[in-house]
Amino acid sequence: MGNPLHSITALFASPDALVHAVQETVKAGYTRYDVHSPYPIHGIGHSMRLRTSPLGYFALAFGLLGAFGSVGLMTWITLVDYPLVIGGKPFWSWPAFVPVAFELTVLSASVLTVVTLIVFYLKFPNNSHPLHDTPYMKRVSSDGFGISIQSDDPAFDEASVRAHFARVAGTDIAAVYYDPEMIDHGQKLFDPRFIGLLIGVALVVSGGTYIALNKVAFMEPFNWMMEQGKLKAQAPSTFFADGSGMRTPVPGTVARGFLPYAFAGKPAEAENNLANPLAPTAEVLARGRTQYLTFCSPCHGNFGRGDSRLRGQFPNPPTLLSDKVQNWPDGSIYHVITNGQNIMPSYSGQIGRDDRWAIVHYVRALERAQSAKESDLK
């Protein structure tokens, strides 16, 4: 019987007796007592001198939180974060916000109030209270009406409490002791069992999430329109033997805007028949420069001196500054770019037609710049 005493309990015959007993207990100056009954007894709060529960204020606060929070969120979304014209309405169509605002108000107010009640006022969950599993508790949870006076009451004295109960016609007067297991039952955050459980659950949850989001979510019938069947530019294709979705035009066909080069393999005709359609304006030269530096300079060098950057991995071409080239008409240079010459391949695929002419201008500029005559200075 070494267990410390928690409280002395007594049962009473009827609600009326209970109310009477409570009033007496209060008169007797006890403060750390509690009254138990299977259902709330009316007016007993008054007898126990309990102050009105302040939960109402919490409800008000939570309600306002929900209301302003939701309206604020909707305002921010529709005005700041992603304004969209929907049905020709203004961005901030507040009348439409009313329903959502109302629902969120009710939600936060009611749920948070209940949470407050349970967590802060009832201090639940608490299954380790000494009163649990006492015969006393079994009675009051069914049809009994009882009072318990706790041992930590300043005016507590076991004998006098028992006497007091006897005086107010209490029956089944009994003592309730702490269960040693339950004394000082702090949160066992570092309880290995708990940590293990934590890790286990975490692994299951994360693994599940991973599989759900990265595997299951991409199975049939879930469809995200990522595989659409259509062939985009440079996409592979299982249908064509070469595995590429891109085809080359049938030889001999002529696409709109792409009349074939008339002088393939006929430098002489090109020389005579081709004239540069572009004027050597600043833009054209600039365009020619970029094109030249992109496509020509690797072999011909940045200044057309034939100083290849390829360090001899590829035979160096002759300089573009030679008299021969300088005396060529534009047509011939264009022809060489388009048609290729000796080991130089055709660049018609890479360089657009106008760009080729622009390059011709740029080459001219290079020649002029690097063999400037006195006259140029004037």
Partner: protein, 999 residues
């Protein structure tokens, strides 16, 4: 002693409960959330990139190329402009430089692109049923075998029968002659079920052996169409539609042409008529005679040959009208108009009418001086003349008699489309070697020894001439997908004997033929190379302009002629299926699913009868009717068509193929078995021996409900609800503001959104729209629309983004038809946007009502709330669902437009105003560094519309056509009272009827 009763506490250990108390639970939550977050991170492979190793000059990945070519879908041979992406054709439109179709293309041409990617195509030569072997065969073996037979046949004096369609290709004609030369005893039998022979023979009877004229429809102020569908399936329908519509362009002039149609069925042309008379086809000749008589009486002045006088004087117009219940007043108007607009009117008889009717019509036109509307610069070019029924008869007889050593089918399907009375199929079985040169297995190919796969039109070279002074060239836009060869090249190869086949065989032949034969006759200054490339580039070659000569009419022609007896007994009147043609398009799902322009029926043909005849026969809609001609009998579902002439059963060709491929086999009913052999000689009227109700029922599926016209509950809703606004031209001219006066501005509780810069809008001129459905087909191709199949359409789940709504008013005997292209109206105050919970549909800065497919969860609320019901929902993954995923097979996906999302199941979709084209133009403008004002953006439907009834553009640009349309007096919006502010403006329809006095 414990106060606990034994057996209570031991089981009740609080430790099992308290450890997971709230703080810990929260911690646990946090931890798992953290783990979950890591779980979300993953890299998904988006596939590899396969660039060109040697990039062709013309191709830039992501940028489209365009090739001028020629459509071979039918005998019109329209010029096409084919859009390719990375060397794959993805869209076919008309070639703007082609003088006949001027950048327009019919539904068939638009949709024919999927035939290239049709999984049912033959991929290698194959043995047919007539061969002892089966399965695939190598080209070499097949060639060897065929050449052996060809030479043998030549040796033992038998003959080679080559059945072909009347070729309009000069080079092909030349090739055929050379083939006949190489293999003497070759008989070339060109035939066409859908021919114009009665017209041609009549023309020759009247004017001698001169080619048929080209009619300048645009200049006509009165058009009388007898049993003809010149806006639908007959003649150069694209050009005819354009010129007809040009004659009713309210934006240009307030003078409209006037269209009278006199016919037994209800054709698309009738749907556009100002006056429509129904007449039993057999009475047409008498009708024309009566007209002639009336006109002669009214114009005693001119001297008319006695012969003519005598022939027609017995035909009193009054009696005729009384006899056939034709509205006297309308006929009076008709005669007045014809007289009033001599040289400016045209009477046009359809190919279904017999020779004598055409002759009478020629006389009538001549008498009125309407020959002035025959072009002087060009005439129809003479292709191969279709064989008469007698020639075909004898050929088949020859086959039966064993005279044929080899039979070649050169792009024809006689087993299906020759009248069965020839007994072709049986005869074919007696031929030692029969070859079918076809893209896919067919009824004919199936019975042959060999089925040799040929190139699709998009893989082929060719040249065509349909008019004098005009050639159009055909060039391939992709190399053959399979081991196929071009039809012509196969012949060339056989002519050459045992030499290895080269791909360029026909290309070279074609070029050579042009260089040697045609080019010299054109006397151009440039080199042939230059000329050739330029011609391929343009697609068309203007030939030497030969003035078309119109010899005087032989006016005695009527004298000897008997007016066909006006038998108003039951007749079968057949016409060309609007989208299936002679059956060659049967396996094209897009075309099968295009609603019939008038009846809105899909996936079927049927026996159309008038309400009265239906009652007489005791049949109703969807009942089965057995019709019996001298040649055979067939049972079809019944469609009760208001406004048809009584005692006529109208049927369409192109259905009931039994070996057309997974899509087309068994769709509709085969009616060719009802035809006599004479069907090949023109004329499409067949007397019915018997017609009676058959047992059973066949659900005809239409894309819109049919309400009986005398159901007052729903009568004339399109007018009452201001969906279609109509008036007559005369009344409009008297009071141009009749429509605008009704227009009301509505207040809004909030400020209307303002659109600065470009704002997109569309205008549709109901006066020009003929309802031909080319826009629908074009949209299907451009926007990757799926085919969903008959039973899904029946459930009401059709997917087309633009549809042609058809309304009837008036009486079942004499209905008045209106139609209206309906697509997403892109409303400023779009009701669909308000209700979408996930903002998957909302408005863009340039006024588009846009769909965010991958945001859509598919609540379908938007569709419910759309007053126009233009939204379409993917109830299934239809590509997978339709015909067991037929269109999921390779290589169908190649047809998809790479710029348009292929929508998945469960997603809402609708017209986007071709946003991909808008974005392309915008991007282009940005590249060029110019400010984008929306000029030059054209939607797929606009590009396709032959009548140019659709105008799209930037309404904020006062110079744009669309803003001028929006300001027109006739401009209105559908359901204006809802104040959803649509951005598709319609121009009210004006009927050019005689209402001057009545108004």
């Amino acid at each position: 002693m414990s106060e606990f009763q034994p057996g209570v506490t031991d089981a009740f250990s609080p430790d099992e409960l308290s450890p997971i108390s709230r703080k810990q639970f929260l911690g646990l939550l946090a931890a798992s959330a953290a783990f979950a977050a890591t779980g979300c991170t993953d890299y998904r492979d988006k596939g590899e990139i396969v660039p060109y190793t040697r990039k062709p000059e013309e191709i830039t990945p992501g940028v489209a190329n365009y090739y001028a070519s020629t459509c071979t879908g039918c005998s019109q041979a329209c010029g096409t402009l084919i859009k390719t992406r990375e060397g794959r054709p993805v869209k076919i439109d008309g070639n703007p430089d082609h003088p006949i179709n001027r950048g327009k293309l019919c539904a068939k041409g638009q949709a024919s692109i999927i035939s290239l990617y049709d999984p049912a195509r033959l991929r290698a030569p194959r043995y047919g049923a007539a061969s002892t072997k089966s399965g695939d065969v190598s080209w070499d073996d097949a060639d060897a075998e065929v050449i052996r037979h060809l030479t043998e046949t030549r040796r033992n004096g038998k003959s080679i029968f080559l059945f072909t369609s009347p070729a309009q290709s000069p080079t092909l004609r030349n090739l055929l002659t050379e083939f006949a030369a190489t293999y003497p005893g070759t008989r070339i039998i060109p035939y066409a079920l859908l021919n114009d022979e009665s017209r041609r023979r009549a023309w020759e009877a009247c004017y001698g052996a001169v080619p048929l004229p080209v009619i300048l429809w645009g200049d006509a102020s009165v058009i009388v169409s007898l049993e003809a569908d010149f806006l639908g399936t007959e003649g150069f329908s694209i050009e005819q539609s354009r010129q007809f519509a040009a004659g009713r362009d309210i934006m240009r002039s307030t003078r409209f042409n006037r269209l009278y149609t006199v016919e037994s069925g209800f054709s698309l042309t009738s749907a556009n008529a100002d006056y429509r008379l129904k007449l039993h086809p057999s009475a047409q000749t008498a009708f024309v005679y009566a007209l002639l008589n009336e006109i002669l009486l009214r114009r005693r002045a001119v001297a008319v040959p006695r012969a003519l006088q005598a022939a027609v004087e017995s035909h009193d117009i009054g009696n005729f009208c009384a006899r056939h219940g034709v509205a006297q007043d309308v006929v009076t108007h008709l005669v007045d108009d014809l007289l009033a607009s001599r040289k400016k009117g045209i009477v046009y008889a359809g190919p279904g009418l017999p020779e004598e009717t055409h002759i009478a019509v020629n006389v009538l036109n001549d008498l009125l001086g309407n020959t002035a509307l025959y072009s002087n610069s060009t005439t129809e070019a003479e292709g191969l003349r279709p064989a008469s029924s007698r020639e075909v008869e004898s050929a088949v007889a020859g086959m039966r008699a064993g005279l044929a050593g080899v039979v070649l089918h050169f792009g024809v399907n006689p087993v299906y489309d020759l009248p069965r009375s020839f007994g072709y199929a049986e005869a074919l079985k007696l031929v030692p070697l029969s070859v079918d040169l076809a893209e896919a297995e067919s009824e004919t190919g199936q019975l042959c020894t060999y089925m040799l796969p040929v190139n699709n039109a998009l893989e082929s070279w060719g040249d065509y001439q349909v008019r004098t002074g005009l050639y159009s060239l055909q060039q391939p836009v992709i190399a053959p997908l399979y081991s196929t060869r071009q039809r012509e090249a196969i012949l060339l190869h056989w002519m050459a004997g045992q030499t290895p086949f080269v791909e360029t065989l026909y290309h070279a032949y074609l070029k050579n033929h042009w260089e040697t034969r045609i080019f010299p006759s054109l006397d151009r200054a440039v080199s042939f190379e230059a000329f050739w490339n330029a011609s391929l580039h343009d697609g068309v070659v203007p030939g030497q302009a030969s003035a078309a000569l119109h010899p005087p009419l032989n006016r005695t022609v009527l004298a000897g002629l008997a007016v066909g007896e006006e038998r108003t007994t039951m007749m079968l009147s057949w016409n060309e299926g609007p989208f299936t043609g002679d059956g060659r398009f049967a396996n094209n799902g897009w075309l099968q699913e295009l609603p019939h322009p008038v009846t809105r029926v899909v996936w079927d043909n049927y026996a159309a009868v008038s309400p009265a005849t239906a009652t007489a026969l005791g049949v109703e809609m969807h009942d089965m009717l057995t019709v019996e001609t001298a040649s055979g009998s067939q049972t079809l579902p019944v469609f009760v068509q208001a406004g048809m002439a009584d005692n006529v059963v109208a049927v369409s060709t192109g259905y009931g193929r039994w070996n057309a491929g997974p899509v087309g086999s068994g769709v509709g009913t085969d009616i060719i078995r009802l035809f006599p052999g004479a069907a090949l000689n023109g004329g499409r009227l067949i007397p019915l021996v018997k017609a009676h109700k058959a047992s059973g029922r066949h659900e005809l599926v239409t894309t819109q409900e049919h309400h009986s016209l005398d159901d007052t509950f729903v009568k004339d809703f399109h007018l009452k609800r201001k969906i279609i606004r109509e008036n007559t031209l005369a009344r409009h001219l008297q009071d141009p503001l009749w429509l605008q006066r009704e227009h009301r501005e509505y207040d809004s509780i909030s400020k209307e959104v303002e659109y600065h810069g470009v704002k997109w809008a569309m205008a549709i001129d109901l006066n020009k729209c003929t309802g031909c459905s080319a826009c629908v087909a074009s949209c299907n191709v451009e926007n990757n629309l799926p085919v969903i199949g008959k039973e899904q359409v029946e459930k009401g789940r059709e997917m087309q983004w633009i549809r042609i709504d058809r309304y009837f008013s008036g009486t079942p005997e004499d209905p008045v038809s209106s139609h209206q292209p309906m697509l997403c109206q892109h409303c400023d105050n779009a009701p669909c946007e308000n209700v979408c919970p996930v903002v998957a549909t909302n408005h863009s800065e340039d006024g588009l009502n846009q769909m965010v497919y991958n945001r859509c969860v598919g609540t379908k609320y938007c569709s419910n709330n759309c007053p126009f019901k233009v939204r379409r929902f993917n109830f299934y993954n239809f590509r997978d669902y339709f015909a067991d995923g037929y269109y999921l097979q390779e290589p169908v996906s190649l047809v998809y437009n790479p710029e348009v999302t292929v929508r998945s199941r469960g997603v809402m979709e609708k017209c986007t105003f071709c946003v991909q084209r808008i974005m392309e133009a915008r991007q282009h403008a940005t590249e060029q560094g110019v400010t984008f004002n929306g000029a030059g953006v054209r939607t797929a439907c606009e590009v396709a519309c032959p009548a140019e009834a659709i105008v799209f553009g930037n309404m904020n640009d006062p110079a744009s056509a669309v803003s001028r349309y929006r300001e027109h007096d006739l401009a209105y919006h559908v359901l204006e009272d809802l104040n959803v502010r649509p951005n598709v403006t319609y121009l009210a329809r004006l009927r050019n009827t005689h209402t001057e006095k009545t108004s």
